[in-house]
């Protein structure tokens, strides 16, 4: 295998991004996936951050954050969070977003707020483990035409029901999102460290669509906390091509994804 598991995940995510789209990336893996797509097959993607940084490409390694100087060094425009998340994301202009998840459930609801260890109950108290909060992820989940969830495929993360919905996926499934009139369509895929999950057209429950060459259906089922349905046409995700690896590594200049294998 001439690539790492992290590289596979980044490439699978990047393949979801189409040329010309308006795309919002977070830090870390999601930014690498996005800039890989630009370098490889989507040169006209218009990339932005939720801080209101436009036209920038990171230099000198992966940014530590979306206001890091590594992404501020060659921007063509700086505005504000209100502009980026309000005028560009909440407005429905943004084609695609990428968010992470500490917990994700069968309907693609994401928890990044805290771990209570199950149902919170009627009284809201402090979590056992405090996480990062919603940040801009709730805004992306509500506003982007579609979005991708990236998550490490572990049983404790892929749960029947998240402790706290920080960012809405399909809520209780079916048409549940429609009640809120969100301009965004919801999560189009969960890209994990082991494979790719997609929502059922009607029920909106996520099923296993494909797995990475180094994984298997059994491994994925064992690492999923709900009774994951498997597509009858489940397949192996195409391994990275040489051109893809070249493009990804030109973006991942500090080799973050190779170290983390």
């Amino acid at each position: 295998m001439n690539y790492t598991r992290q590289e596979m995940m980044a490439i699978a995510t990047g393949r979801e991004i189409r040329d010309g789209e308006l795309a919002i990336f977070g830090v870390g893996l999601s930014m690498l996936a996005g800039f890989f797509a630009i370098a490889h097959h989507a040169p006209n993607v218009r990339a932005m951050t939720e801080g209101g940084i436009y036209g920038a490409t990171p230099i000198g390694g992966l940014p530590w954050g979306i206001e890091c100087n590594r992404i501020s060094a060659n921007a063509t425009s700086f505005t504000s969070g209100l502009d980026a998340l309000g005028c560009l994301v909440a407005s429905g202009r943004c084609d695609i977003g990428i968010i992470g998840a500490a917990q994700v459930d069968r309907f693609g609801n994401v928890n990044t707020t805290g771990i209570w260890g199950g149902e919170i109950g009627a009284h809201y108290g402090p979590p056992k483990t405090r996480l990062t909060g919603s940040g801009g992820a709730n805004d992306i989940a509500v506003g982007c035409k579609r979005y991708l969830i990236m998550a490490s495929h572990e049983k404790k993360r892929f749960v029947e029901r998240v402790d706290y919905i920080s960012s809405p996926g399909y809520l209780d499934g079916g048409n549940a999102r429609a009640a809120y009139g969100f301009v965004g369509g919801g999560p189009s895929a969960i890209i994990t460290t082991l494979g790719i999950l997609r929502p059922d057209l009607l029920s909106k429950e996520f099923f296993l669509e494909a797995y990475f060459a180094f994984s298997s259906v059994d491994e994925i089922l064992a690492d999923t906390g709900w009774n994951l349905r498997v597509s009858p046409t489940v397949s192996i995700v195409a391994e990275p091509s040489d051109a893809e690896l070249l493009a990804l590594r030109s973006v991942d200049v500090t080799g973050m994804l190779r170290r983390a294998a």
């Binding site: 830090v27 870390g28 951050t49 939720e50 801080g51 209101g52 940084i53 230099i59 000198g60 992966l62 940014p63 530590w64 954050g65 979306i66 206001e67 890091c68 100087n69 590594r70 501020s72 060094a73 700086f78 505005t79 504000s80 969070g81 209100l82 998340l85 309000g86 994301v89 909440a90 707020t113 919170i120 009627a122 009284h123 809201y124 108290g125 402090p126 979590p127 056992k128 483990t129 405090r130 996480l131 990062t132 909060g133 919603s134 940040g135 801009g136 992820a137 709730n138 805004d139 509500v142 706290y164 919905i165 920080s166 960012s167 809405p168 009640a179 809120y180 009139g181 969100f182 301009v183």
Partner: protein, 340 residues
């Protein structure tokens, strides 16, 4: 014009003494976790033991992380609460898990919209974010309401009948806003994203600028479209190089990655926090001692970052240190001068 060159420069310690008070709603930076924030102001709050704060931070920063770690915060309202690439914010995390800080969650857009509502004096602002999630249904400030009604009431759009969230305005008592460039009157230029500094400067009851560099007002007349915070909003200006350290100030200095990690690691425990305050807060009450603590080598390295060219157009208007000190001295508290 005397009107526009009014000198509002005061020392950092005076600014905290005059404008900060325990129990206040305190907002800062309106920053992101690795960028612009008036962290130096938070260090002085710690030195002067200002506590019981109701912190309003668009997103967490090392300042909020520190204020939570030392126990200066009672309540907080926040969007993102981590440190981005630097992981969880250990000080904030510890204080929330222990119940010492009651943290009310919003999304980043919701915080920006609430600051806008404060700025515009709207009793509420409408938005479609947060509704349908636990950000709407769970309130740390009203923990027994489930689903919460008072946090983000659902209203109907009168034109379409569509449901919307109504967001309460934010009007903090005091905002300490970091900017790279300010003139003595309080006109400020930002470099890099504003994040929500524009909205915050209008929403807060009182605004203090903490500036890395002081420039002549002529700079503002050359670039008036860059002056997004005009002097008429500003009570006082503090000159404090490396205000945002260890975070970054685009155009002026890079983030100090080693200290970002060290600081967050130390804030992860009570002992570590005590040590952090002893080593990096208490002895750094003067510009000289503060810069010494960062170290000349680090300063040189951080100042030579890839965004340094962003400052070039304004360098010719930078006021000499001696001039800034004189202006500051003219406003210094008499008590301060007697004590010195």
């Amino acid at each position: 014009m005397t009107t526009h060159t009014r000198n509002k420069l005061i020392p950092l310690a005076d600014a905290v003494r005059r404008f900060a008070f325990s129990g206040m709603q305190y907002a800062s930076g309106a920053a992101l976790p690795v960028g612009s924030d008036a962290i130096a102001f938070g260090r002085e709050l710690v030195r002067q033991s200002v506590g019981d704060l109701h912190a309003i931070f668009h997103a967490n920063t090392q300042q909020l992380n520190l204020l939570c770690a030392v126990g200066a915060v009672a309540k907080a309202e926040c969007g993102f609460t981590g440190l981005e690439g630097f992981g969880f914010a250990n000080g904030l995390r510890r204080s929330v898990e222990s119940g010492q800080v009651v943290l009310e969650d919003y999304s980043n857009l919701a915080m920006a919209v609430r600051l806008l509502a404060g700025a515009m004096n709207w009793p509420f602002a409408p938005a479609t974010v947060n509704i349908g999630s636990d950000v709407e249904r769970r309130s740390a400030f009203a923990p027994n309401e489930y689903p919460a009604q008072s946090k983000i009431p659902i209203i109907q759009d009168p034109f379409t009948g569509r449901p919307l969230g109504a967001f309460s305005p934010l009007k903090p008592d005091l905002a300490a806003i970091h900017v790279p460039l300010a003139d003595p009157a309080g006109n400020a230029i930002m470099l890099g994203t504003e994040w929500s500094r524009f909205e915050l400067s209008r929403a807060a009851k009182r605004v203090i600028l903490i500036a890395d560099c002081i420039v002549d007002t002529a700079c503002m007349r050359q670039f008036p479209n860059l002056v997004r915070i005009p002097d008429l909003l500003v009570e006082a200006v503090v000159w404090w190089p490396f205000t945002a350290w260890p975070q970054a100030s685009p155009g002026v200095y890079d983030g100090d990655e080693a200290h970002m990690k060290l600081m967050n690691q130390m804030l992860g425990s009570e002992d570590g926090t005590r040590e952090y305050v002893e080593r990096f807060v208490t002895p750094a009450g003067q510009r000289e001692s503060y810069l010494e603590l960062i170290g000349a080598e680090t300063i040189a390295r951080l100042s030579a970052g890839p965004t340094a060219f962003l400052l070039d157009p304004y360098r010719r208007w930078l006021l000499p240190d001696a001039t800034v000190r004189e202006l500051e001295a003219a406003n210094t508290d008499k008590s301060e001068r007697l004590a010195a």
